[in-house]
Assembly symmetry: C2
Homo-oligomer: 633 residues x 2
């Protein structure tokens, strides 16, 4: 095999500079007011008109000349002739003269000759005074009005342009348009604004093994669903770009080149990722080097070593690592800031939390490390930080992480309890209210649905015991026999029926464990971490004792005993796929999947609380939910 | 006039409870992966398959049986026959036997019989050993491979289901789908997810005077642009709802009823607003009371007193105040949380800042007050908080505000320097880097464009002097003569030519100020706050001295002298509209609007810095920009 080695890794700073040197900016879009929220104005916007465009009554009442009210009060009201009414949306036809008032509605145009208004609450409408000076009667449709207060010129009137005046600078270039700015734009009658076009980001995933979600997958051929395309697309849109997904390029060189060039001709930035095979990387490397410009190849960061930065045609180009977690970490650290910048958006508000490392973490490769971490809250509301790492090929670890700890290249060891700063994935990330670990169990899954924002890591029963001792999780869920007592509070328990999941109707007429030993049947086991496996092991010990034989001999006779799968449904699915005759599993799983079931017994599932966390609200909520033990269905 | 009085105002808590009692929830949407970001999952999502779906090579190298490498090292490598190759996306056809290895690519399916793999870096491909035991030659296409390390079973292999296993709980109900969750969903092959439908919120603006932005406005009839519809729509979408704009209902009762019922039949919530006239409020009140259910009318909050809460048909209904600032404050405080809740979204991360009141604020109405405020930063990085209030009819104040201070009903006075907590409008609100006040000037507008996120309040020159003395703004821009010395650092100055803006070509042949006094011409002035007005007053004094006459006599002879408009372009626009023969203005304005101009002189525009803020970065940037004084164009 011939492969590009990354002999001279660039520094992370150099990678940032290389990406900053690329121009990702799109042009200018003109968008309607409905589409303007969150977009970035490209030019200063000046008011083209006065707001309001006329002298406007601020209240319901009477427009008049202020000087006619001087000295008026409750005891000695001014009396004016009502010569008409103006409502909002009407043109006043009256020219006010001395001794006159006009009924006016909120928002209506002040009639000519009036310079103030009096709110209706401080007036009384009355019949015209008869000549003999008798007390006039209050009447809504009377011809006169008594004004029981004095006002100054301009009182209760909003003058033309008082809100915004023509020629005023309304919004500056670079303004990210908020709901409040939309109010200002509407007031100015603006229905379209020039904004920065979102940078168009083409996403090219390469690899013969990639299948789009929703399509059929052939695991036998090593096919996997394409994770990067959709994840990076979502990341691009989070950063203010417009994502364009291109068809999978496969590993064929000509095809890859065609797709990359098409994307480059249509986009401001092309991101490739997907295939982790060296040959694909080589092909892309060659295409960029020959047809474009390669600025940088290989960065001293983990993950992210195999990053490429360059240009292809008039587009910027960044090659991301193939593994989804690596691709997203690199995208987030190096590419998203450049997209935001091109979109004219400010860096999002820094959201960081400080916490203590829940366990020590060794790392000595001398590269900057971007370490995804999860958070847990201990009883003192102190934040515990634990690395989330399901292995370099894992696609899904980030969904279990809350943020990233950046570890300097010269740091090769983080101690347990050491204080670290976590950059949350976004400012609206909320650490889980409850962190649970343990057995994968359908009843537990339903219990979790009743809690707000829990996180559950189905690591199995045995590792759960260890993790609870280490003190990170709030609760541990343990199925089957307990090897030794746990120093933990049992919050509750239920029982589940376990055994062999077989084909529907049990056509091979399995009756129990002995069939697996004595007959030629293919079995699928669970991993040694699972509580089901512990119960199975105990059954085998019993059978060996019954038969007076060696345990090992029985195990060796079971075809597939060593094939341990991680989750409660996986063996059953092997049975459905025809890869096995029997799988270790639960009755509830067999029922759910319409399979047959041979019972081997019942086992308890116990929920233990971390003794330091029993007072925590989410733990108490779980305890309350456990007072009515979950049923299997 | 007959009007509903709000005699028994409900408490803000009662208003919240009434709105919470309405059901705003929509149904369930099924959205594609591309549309899923930010949506809220309605049901638990369990893995339907193992990820990966097969035992997967984690690196490029050789698949083999681990036990064949036991004891191997650099000095004593194990030698295996290479019996084939498996690439990603291929089905392995080989069944590995003792002494054999298979070349394998990252991501490829482990061949049957292999239980571990060795990365290519720890191997050498060699020619098959000849029988005479000579040193074999390294050759990329040799038939054998030397393994220079030992591995354990499982090394460098990701087992089926190791990432996610079938049946595992992948995402819980209520999860707001992030970019990272989209990675998990894609890995599981899920291309469509059930999410909460966005609550449909119908927006009905009423009022004969409302005109949609983009359409022509007849200010003479008191028409104004509709601000509430677009602002509330943007607020609804910010809160996770779907906004539906209905046509303006006008003030006609039958029409209003028809539009409200149509909206109610199509939406989960109807919001009305717009007309502030009492008659419209009465009509809506009656429609809700007769055709639906009125839960609440009038809330003890300022702004927001005339709020209605109820039901119409199967829809929830909230009536917002008509004034845009009031409508948005009520929407934000009472309605947005209910929409977010119905959308399943968490309350946004609290973004609050503490600051000191920049000036005292009196308020004694005994209602809860929601006070929009702007922020300024003083030299000690302390935050100063000042109320933003352009009067109750103002539509645009919120664009000049950063957040809200909630003042308890029993507080009737906030002292200058008193500490208050500001709820920012959102967590990404950034207070302005520079707060400027002063003259409205086109050259200043251009200078501001070069700064990042400045705020400029064009209050005029005279108020700017006062405000600078009070210590809130960073800089003040003052045009024309200074009445007395300012204790402030002059950062820079430029000169502008001022005079009379007249019709294009100056058809009336104006020559100067004397024409306004002596001829029958209509003039439009600027307000007394403006620096242009100060220069005009000085010219009038000179003219009075020349003529040996009284200043007042001259002023009285100018038709329109008392009509002062607020912004530098407003008088010019009155000339364009034919409402005036001459307006006080700048040569640059006349040139820009293709009008004629009669010069009356030049006046200085000076930029003064708050003496405590000269070291502030934005002030220094402005000072640097002022080293090259701005030109008029």
């Amino acid at each position: 095999m011939n492969r590009k080695e990354f002999r001279d890794l660039a520094s992370p700073e150099a990678a940032r500079e290389a990406i900053d040197s690329l121009s990702l900016e799109g042009g200018i879009d003109r968008v309607t007011l409905e589409e303007a929220r969150g977009r970035v104005l490209v030019a200063r916007l000046e008011a083209e008109l006065d707001v309001p465009g006329f002298d406007r009554a601020s209240l319901d009442g009477y427009a008049l000349r202020a000087r006619e009210t001087f000295g008026a009060d409750e005891a000695d009201p001014a009396r004016l002739e009502v010569v008409g009414a103006v409502h909002a949306g009407e043109e006043p036809t009256i020219d006010l003269e001395d001794g006159q008032a006009v009924e006016i509605s909120t928002g209506a145009v002040m009639p000519s000759g009036a310079d103030a208004m009096v709110p209706v609450e401080r007036t009384d409408r009355v019949e015209a005074r008869s000549t003999d000076n008798a007390v006039s009667e209050t009447a809504d449709d009377g011809d006169e009005v008594l004004i029981r207060t004095s006002v100054a010129p301009g009182d209760n009137v909003m003058f033309a342009g008082a809100d915004v005046a023509a020629g005023e600078r309304a919004l500056g270039p670079g303004t990210t348009i908020t709901t409040r700015d939309i109010g200002l734009l509407s007031a100015l009658g603006v229905d379209e604004v020039p904004v920065r076009a979102k940078p168009r980001v083409g996403i090219v995933s390469t690899g013969d093994e990639l299948v789009r979600p929703g399509e059929d997958l052939d695991s036998g051929r090593g096919e996997i669903y394409d994770v990067n395309s959709y994840t990076i697309a979502a990341g691009v849109e989070d950063a203010g770009g417009e994502a364009v997904l291109y068809p999978h390029a496969g590993d064929d060189q000509a095809e890859m080149e065609r797709v990359l060039r098409e994307a480059a001709s249509e986009c401001d930035l092309v991101l490739s990722s997907g295939s982790t095979s060296a040959s694909a990387v080589d092909v892309i490397y060659r295409i960029i080097e020959e047809q474009g410009e390669l600025l940088l190849h290989g960065v001293s960061v983990k993950p992210g070593k195999p990053m490429l930065v360059g240009r292809l045609e008039s587009s910027a180009y960044v090659g991301l690592p193939g593994y989804p977690v690596s691709a997203m970490m690199v995208f987030r650290t190096f590419v998203a800031p450049a997209i935001r910048n091109a979109a004219g958006l400010a860096e999002p508000t820094a959201a960081t939390v400080s916490g203590r490392m829940a366990r020590s973490e060794r790392y000595g490769e001398g590269r900057l490390r971007l370490m995804p971490v999860g958070l847990a809250q201990n009883d003192d509301d102190e934040t515990l930080v634990y690395p989330v790492d399901k292995g370099s090929g894992a696609t899904t670890s980030l969904a279990e992480a809350d943020g990233v700890v950046t570890v300097a290249p010269e740091t090769d060891y983080l101690e347990e309890g050491e204080s670290v700063t976590v950059d949350l994935f976004s400012s609206d990330v909320r650490p889980p209210t409850l962190l649970g670990v343990g057995e994968d169990d359908p009843a537990m899954n339903r219990l979790l649905d009743g809690l707000e924002n829990p996180r559950y890591l189905s690591v199995g029963s045995r590792p759960a015991v260890r993790r609870l001792r280490e003190g990170v999780p709030d609760v541990a869920v343990i199925a089957g026999p307990l090897e030794r007592d746990l120093e933990a509070d049992e919050l509750g328990r239920w029982s589940r029926e376990w055994g062999l999941v077989v084909r529907a109707g049990n056509p091979q007429e399995l009756e129990g464990l002995a069939d697996l030993v004595d007959r030629d049947l293919r079995f699928v086991n669970r991993t040694a971490d699972s509580g089901l496996r512990s119960s199975l092991e105990a059954e085998i010990d019993d059978l060996a004792a019954d038969r007076g034989t060696d345990r090992q001999a029985l195990v060796a006779a079971i075809d597939g005993f060593d094939l341990g799968l991680r989750a409660h449904e996986s063996p059953a699915r092997k049975v459905i796929a025809g890869d096995a005759d029997a799988g270790l599993g639960l009755r509830s799983t067999a029922d759910r999947l319409d399979l047959g079931f041979v019972s081997l017994g019942d086992q308890p599932v116990r929920v233990f609380a971390n003794p330091d966390r029993t007072a925590k609200q989410s733990v108490q909520e779980l305890a309350a939910a456990l007072e009515e033990p979950p049923t299997e269905h």
